[in-house]
């Protein structure tokens, strides 16, 4: 009897949910670790930076596993480590991502491939490695963190938009495939969020960015990482038990129409 089956009897709770979060040392990923631990989940998280990993692990009690999402062997090992630490796995959240602020024409093959590796191939590898563990647990949930740019792309982050669009389809294909095993797979598409992406191959580091010039979504504010974490917590828990293959925008309404920001201009 897996943990997921046990907590399924407790509506709204992810208490005890054994969860692996990738890219948990900054931005949305770190907020996810904070939130899921606060909600009672047992969390292991990955990241490249030992110092930041120790910080997040120290304040939350979650287990840090150093891993680079471009390295297939480290990905496999980090899943095995997480399962060993947590005593199995009920949930996976793929949050690790990398962004490059440039048009398609300006994107080098190397930047293109780095973004494909981290934003698309890593979620594929993590999902495939975790699915047998989730089946062993009697079911579970996977959440991928895509982007509003995966739903409707942006020229200044062209290659990033491509990888995030493909990631949405990856999540949907997994939802079909894993559904019969009682495993739900959903994908969250955040808009502009702070603290945001800290990992860039080219362009700005958005942590601590001056957002005064940013377009505001209809809700009038830039999103916070905790806004995304709340949706992910919902998607991991039993309240979302019939939500599968969904791509959920968390963008303050920015993709609800053409020029949605003009309502606040």
């Amino acid at each position: 009897m897996g943990t997921f089956a046990r907590i399924a009897a407790m509506p709204g709770s992810i208490d005890g949910l054994r969860t692996l979060v990738t890219g948990g040392t900054s931005g949305i990923g770190a907020a996810l670790v904070d939130r899921l631990v606060a909600d009672g989940a047992h969390v292991a998280f990955t990241g490249r930076d030992q110092g930041r990993g120790d910080d997040v692990g120290g304040r939350t009690g979650a287990a840090f596993i150093q891993a680079d999402a471009t390295d297939e062997h480290l990905i496999v090992r980090s899943v095995d480590d997480a399962a060993a630490i947590l005593g199995g796995l009920d949930a996976l959240v793929c949050s690790a991502g990398v962004i490059s602020f440039e048009s398609i024409r300006d994107t080098t093959l190397q930047d293109w491939e780095t973004q494909l590796d981290v934003n698309l191939t890593a979620p594929y590898l993590y999902s495939v490695r975790c699915l047998p563990l989730l089946r062993e647990a009697g079911g579970g949930s996977i959440v991928h963190i895509s982007s509003d740019a995966g739903v409707w792309g942006e020229q200044e982050i062209g290659a990033y938009s491509v990888t995030k669009a493909a990631l949405i389809t990856l999540a949907q294909m997994l939802a079909i495939e894993a559904g019969p095993s009682g495993i739900r797979v959903n994908v969250v598409c955040p808009g502009d969020i702070l603290p945001g992406m800290s990992t860039t191959t080219r362009g700005r580091d958005e942590t601590g960015a001056d957002t005064s010039g940013w377009r505001r979504p209809p809700l009038g504010r830039i999103g916070e990482a905790s806004d995304v974490a709340g949706v992910v917590s919902f998607l991991l828990g039993p309240d979302s038990s019939f939500v599968n293959g969904a791509a959920i925008l968390v963008d303050g309404g920015m993709r609800a129409s053409y020029r949605a920001w003009e309502v606040n201009a």
């Binding site: 297939e72 999902s127 669009a165």
Partner: protein, 256 residues
């Protein structure tokens, strides 16, 4: 009639399937065409059948992309239209897709389109404008679980087309995505060593229209998109599937 007379076109993966149909059509409409492919033998055959020029190139190899674009520019004196058609398919779900197959699908279906588009963009612009057509798939709009990794790459290709459309709009370089449904003959290439995951049309559902698509069906749309008639078409995603993807049909409403 030579509606495409003077048009200089590069078609990737033109030795079989939809690609071959596109080469035939563009030639019939009067365009000067270079096409790429991996099979020397099939390339020679299409070359002699159509009068298009064959450039031996493997879309999975970035140096081949560069070389074939340079060769096309030399041969045609410029490029007005690029058709990103080369593609491969892998029959199976995500879990049965090995990392090797995954990477090759990404390389051919997505990275090659990226590299060809980048390499041809400026020549198209400098020739006074033109267009890029991406042969995506109906799975780019909504995936199909039995060709899951393929669907993922095609969703990426559709977004690539959109992003190029944004970049090209100010300089008269158009980019559109063509999304065919089931076409016979279909995709003939699979990742190396994965021949048992080739496309298998035996269990396909016949579209309500009563027949599967043909390469010629898709080629007519491409011939229009690269022509000046389609000058206001940019960033479009066009399903060409006889209505299969328009919605769900329940057995009781088919009238059969």
């Amino acid at each position: 009639m030579t509606p495409l007379g003077g048009l200089r076109a590069l078609v990737t993966g033109g030795t079989s399937g939809i690609g071959r149909g596109i080469v035939e059509r563009l030639r019939a409409d009067g365009a000067d065409v270079v096409f790429t492919g991996r099979s020397q033998e099939r390339g020679a055959e299409v070359e002699s059948a159509t009068g298009a020029a064959f450039c031996h190139a493997d879309a999975a190899q970035p140096p081949d992309v560069e070389r074939s674009v340079a060769w096309s520019l030399e041969r045609l004196g410029g490029i007005d239209a690029l058709v990103n058609n080369a593609g491969m398919i892998f029959q199976g779900g995500i879990e049965s897709t090995t990392p090797a197959a995954w990477r090759e699908l990404l390389a051919v279906n997505l990275t090659a389109a990226f590299l060809y588009s980048k390499a041809c963009f400026v020549p198209i612009q400098e020739g006074g404008g033109g267009s890029i057509v991406h042969i995506a798939s109906d799975t780019a709009i909504r995936g199909i679980a039995s060709i899951a990794a393929y669907s993922v790459t095609k969703a990426g290709m559709r977004m690539l087309s959109d992003m190029l459309a944004l970049e090209g709009a100010p300089v008269n370089v158009r980019s559109n995505a063509v999304c065919p449904g089931d076409v016979v003959p279909g995709v003939q290439a699979t990742p190396v060593g994965f021949g048992d995951h080739a496309e298998d049309p035996t269990n396909w559902t016949l579209p309500p229209a009563g027949r599967f698509g043909t390469a010629a069906d898709v080629a007519s749309l491409v011939a229009w998109l690269v022509s000046d008639e389609a000058r206001h078409m940019n960033g479009a995603t066009i399903r060409i599937d006889a209505g299969m993807g328009a919605g769900i049909v329940t057995p009781s409403s088919t009238g059969s």
